[in-house]
């Protein structure tokens, strides 16, 4: 039986609330299917499943908040075998003790229950408390006495509130924005505490890149028009292939990642940021990256992302956009080891071959984790990035 657990959608996520099951027992699932919607600090997230099989049992009720790693559902990988078919084989044979145990079909799930300590179960039974409604704080999410007592307390509070008919309507929008703020706070504080950042900067002439883009945009339908950021993302992805130590995570040591999934910082209008991943950006064309952005930015702003989009990034890009600050120094999103910052593109005096010209320039910064890489790697990356942007047609 495959255990499906509450996934971690980034270093800053401690728990999530199951809002809705999108599959029920008996449904077949395959890799990439959305099994549930979970509310996190980053909004409502579609949770994908990474195994094939049949949903055997749902372990968590809707509207339950559980810590990361809590068992949520059981998926039976042997989807084609019906349990009924396995039984007759045994029934026909005379009872032979040693083989009997083996012959029990592997999907007897009655015994799998909510994890709770014996003491917690005792107290819950005495107080008529439904364990499935309680979030456990013990080992592997087990419910402990403290959790039960907390639930009893909360029950009393709710009753009191109902009695005195105080209607405290939570403003959902505000809540999300607050929790998002605290998620950003937690991740960035951790980064600042743990990661020794080094910073590098390079000015890059975008004349060729933008000219190439404007030519393309003349023929593209307006819905498919490119933005400079699509080129920048593609150029970063291509450069990372040549400097792989920046496309990695740090977890006591450096672990290089083969996929290049670019986390792209999206600012929300009400404050806060969210960083969805553009998967395998090195394998996508600039047009495909733009298409990806057109899909992902509106969903990020609506806080409707998929779990893999929140958890898979291997490096981050933050881009100020035009008219804004000239340069941004990023703070690395742990456990990643680098963040690339693009300032706003603006016309600047630029000297080349002894001549002065006016060019659209961008100031690019790289913040690297000095545990994982050194300035030389970072510098090599920025030089490579420049080279790619001087040859846009090859991107």
């Amino acid at each position: 039986m495959i255990e499906f657990v509450m996934p971690s959608l980034g270093a800053d996520m401690a728990d999530g609330t199951l809002v809705e099951w999108l599959k029920k027992p008996g449904d077949q699932v395959k890799r990439g299917d959305i099994i549930a919607t979970v509310e996190t600090q980053k909004g409502l997230i579609d949770i994908e499943v990474f195994d094939e099989g049949t949903i055997e049992k749902l372990m968590i009720a809707e509207d339950t908040k559980v810590p990361v790693g809590t068992l949520m559902a059981l998926i039976n990988p042997e989807k084609t075998i019906e349990p009924q078919k396995a039984i007759p084989v045994v029934a026909e044979e005379p009872v032979i003790q040693p083989t009997e145990e083996k012959a029990i079909p592997p999907f007897v799930t009655e015994h799998i229950q909510v994890k709770a300590s014996p003491l917690a179960k005792k107290i819950a039974a005495e107080n008529n408390i439904d364990l499935s409604q309680i979030m456990g704080s013990g080992e592997n999410g087990a419910i402990t006495r403290k959790d039960i007592e907390g639930a009893i307390e909360q029950g009393k509070l709710v009753q009191e509130k109902e009695r005195s008919s105080i209607v405290a309507e939570p403003i959902k929008e505000q809540n999300i924005s607050n929790t998002l703020r605290s998620a950003v706070a937690a991740a960035m504080s951790r980064s600042n505490r743990e990661i020794p950042h080094y910073f590098l900067e390079k000015k890059i002439d975008l004349e060729k890149a933008l000219a190439w883009m404007h030519e393309k945009n003349k023929v593209l339908p307006v819905q498919k028009r490119l933005l400079p950021v699509a080129l920048l993302i593609k150029a970063v992805a291509s450069s990372l292939k040549q400097v792989p130590e920046l496309n990695a995570i740090w977890d006591t040591d450096l672990q290089l990642k083969t996929e290049i999934n670019i986390g792209f910082v999206v600012s929300l209008r009400n404050g806060g940021i969210i960083v969805p991943a553009i998967h395998a950006a090195d394998l996508k064309s600039v047009d495909e990256i733009m298409e990806n952005l057109n899909d992902i930015i509106p969903r990020a702003r609506a806080l409707r992302l998929r779990s893999s989009e929140l958890s898979d990034s291997t490096v981050t890009i933050t881009s100020i956009g035009d008219g804004g600050a000239d340069l941004v120094y990023g703070i690395i999103y742990p456990p990643q080891v680098a963040i690339i910052g693009f300032g706003s593109i603006s016309e600047q005096a630029f000297a080349e071959n002894g001549l002065l010209g006016v060019r659209p320039m961008v100031r690019v910064s790289l913040a690297g984790d000095h545990r994982a890489s050194d300035g030389l790697s970072g510098s090599r990356f920025l030089v490579t990035l420049n080279n790619h942007l001087q040859n846009p047609e090859a991107l």
Binding site: N217, V222, Q223, R225, L227, R269, G321, G323
Partner: protein
């Protein structure tokens, strides 16, 4: 299309992109993107929306001609379809 009707459409589209702002309070000459905090991605969405709603395609090289409410409406009214 008369100017008021055009403006009404523009306000509607801008409101959709920046729901917490009041586009109808824009002064005719101020920079729309700066006033409403619209980034390049949202601006592209606005261009797409204009195209879909008014069937007027604005090429990229004209983005500089449509920065304020006045210049935008002038552009839209004078642009041959």
């Amino acid at each position: 299309m008369i100017k008021e009707e055009l403006e009404k459409n523009i306000f509607q589209l801008l409101k959709k992109i920046a729901p917490e702002t009041e586009p109808s309070e824009l002064s005719p000459t101020e920079n729309i993107r700066e006033a409403l905090g619209i980034d390049s991605y949202d601006f592209l969405q606005f261009i797409i929306a204009l195209d879909e709603k008014l069937k007027i395609e604005i090429p990229e090289q004209d983005y500089g001609k449509i920065t304020s409410l006045n210049s935008l409406t002038d552009y839209l009214i004078n642009k041959p379809k």
